[in-house]
Amino acid sequence: MKTQLLPATPATGRPGQPGLPSIPRAPRGRTDHGRFARQHRQRLLRADLLTVIAWTSVAASVALWLADGGTSAVTSPAALFTAAGIVAGLAGMDLVLLMLLLVARIPFIDRTVGHDRALEFHRKLGKPSLYLLLAHGMFIAVGYGMADGLDPISESIALWTLVPDMWLAFVSMALFVAVVVTSLVAVRRRFPYEFWYVVHLLTYAAVGTSLPHQFSAGGLFAEGTWQRWYWLAVCIATGAALLYCRIAQPLVATFRHRLTVSRVTGVAPGVVNIEMTGRHLGRLAGAGGRFFVWRFLAPGLWWHPHPFSLSAEPAAYGPEGQGTLRITVRNLGRGSARLVRLRPGTKVALEGPYGLFSTAARGRDKVVLVGAGIGITPLRALLETTPFAPGQATVLLRGHTEQELYLRDEILELCRQRGAKLFHLTGPRAQWNSTTWLPDEAVRSGYSLPSYVPEIADADVYICGPARWAGNVIADARAAGVRPDQIHHERFDW
């Protein structure tokens, strides 16, 4: 193991690292006490607001039915089944809309819970919404069947053939089942990502085919009812959010910034810096550490979206915001292998920035950055810009060898400039202990997170690295008294 410790006192007036577009003057010595605490309170408030909106939207969907006098119609077992079916359908559709909103990459949601947690909620809602929709279909078939004196199968056939738009609803149900089944992680591992992705696009077809019967067959949404307007508004708002945030905004950003690859340089074996030049990059200030979805418009590459974080704060120096962006990419799979051979001049489309791995997540004055492998690179960008007083920041970098601490020279330079403590934690992992994130030697010596950062309980902890390793860091931090809302974790293997 090698541990390198930099003194907390900042060196002054060092020039930027050669080969870097620029290292902007660090906003050193910003001691606006309470700024982060305030920001944190506001973010928690927004999170609570989102929780309230999500739950009340479910409640509202049921209230639609209640306000229609739904309970008074429940007078027989058949009506009970039908009512249960209607309620399940309303709640299920509401959850589906929530799921869509969670993946719409809406800035408000992104700034509040972050992209990966939004996806996590999205995944959590998958099964409940499917069960509700299945229950919707079955209860309705049973309820109507009982009222008609038919078994549920015959009733379903009757609904299919007799009620307009109902066959679409059956198609929709089949699509929903296909989407959720293929999305389950186990299944996802067996199919290539692209297949899973295309199946996921079927969600839109599933939602689209489910809409007609809601408005034509559902008595609740009959023409002229306020319920119809509410439901229309909710559906249209969701569709608009998707269209705007996932299609319009990326197109606008792509045309605004007009990015082209300017340079691809090797950092370490299999790891390259990709630099891009573009315009109006001043608008992306503060995006360092956050990720974009990149599409390199080269033959065979353009269709493949790559999520990568910026490894440096965007640098803008021209009169029209001309400047450079930089990402650091490791050759991880088929897609990223080709990136190593990217030719300068390649046009780049971008969506973003996304994620909460930025100053916006700060809640404390002290900050700790913990990274491993390629996960070090977004920390590099964050270290560049996030405000802290000298001595208030600690950087912990983990790798098997010194060569795996990518961008280590730049980070060292930044730490010197800004007065951050830096530890290099290298060496083989402790094979005998699967719960540690530290090198074997450090574990044997009894080290843990507070050994490096005694004041960690009062700091924001940014963690970026492989999932298992990051999980161990989080557990260590929690054991040291760090509260969940102080931990900012970006999954790097998705």
Partner: protein
């Protein structure tokens, strides 16, 4: 903090559900008001027919099934002047109730201490002349409705009976007996 979010979400959701439920009962409430008006429009026993109980109280109080109590309340303008519960015969008019169909007054006829007839008088706005409402539908108890002996029924009317439902219907049994 998570608890705060969960709590406010729970409170807000409960509030919305309650509001929806309240609105739902008001939808039903509009129809019970109707029920009340039709109650006033011509019969006794309104208070016993379930759903309309609360709203029909005002309009239908005089038509309540308890004969002594009703004659007491309706006796304010009683023609025979007996306001006590011991009244044995006479015609009584209830108080005028405003409904969306206009002012309605219930008239009951009591003989031998029992209500023998209930009629509704509608007071039109222009001349306040009483006109009897003849054919308005009014609440009926199941025991009051014109009944039919199943054996004597020659045919059965029901909401659209499909071919499938027919097989298990009474009409099928009647047809089978006559085939």
């Amino acid at each position: 903090m998570k608890a705060r979010g969960a709590l406010s979400a729970a409170v807000a959701s409960a509030g919305i559900l309650l509001a929806g439920w309240q609105a739902g009962t008001q939808v039903a409430g509009v129809s019970t008001t109707n029920n009340g008006s039709t109650t006033a429009a011509g019969t006794s026993g309104a208070g016993t027919s379930g759903g309309g109980a609360s709203a029909s109280g005002s309009a239908g109080s005089s038509g309540s099934s308890d004969s002594s109590g009703s004659s007491g309340s309706a006796g304010s303008s009683g023609t025979s002047g007996s306001s006590g519960g011991a009244s044995t015969a006479g015609t009584f008019k209830g108080s005028v109730v405003q409904t969306r169909f206009g002012a309605v007054q219930v008239q009951i006829t009591v003989s031998a201490g029992k209500i023998s007839e209930v009629t509704a008088l509608q007071l039109t706005d222009d001349d306040r002349k009483s006109i009897q409402i003849s054919n308005r539908a009014a609440p009926l108890l199941r025991t009051e409705v014109l009944s039919a002996q199943s054996a004597a029924v020659k045919t059965v009317s029901g909401a659209t009976v499909t071919s499938n439902a027919y097989l298990s219907s009474l009409q099928a049994a009647i047809d089978a007996a006559n085939l």
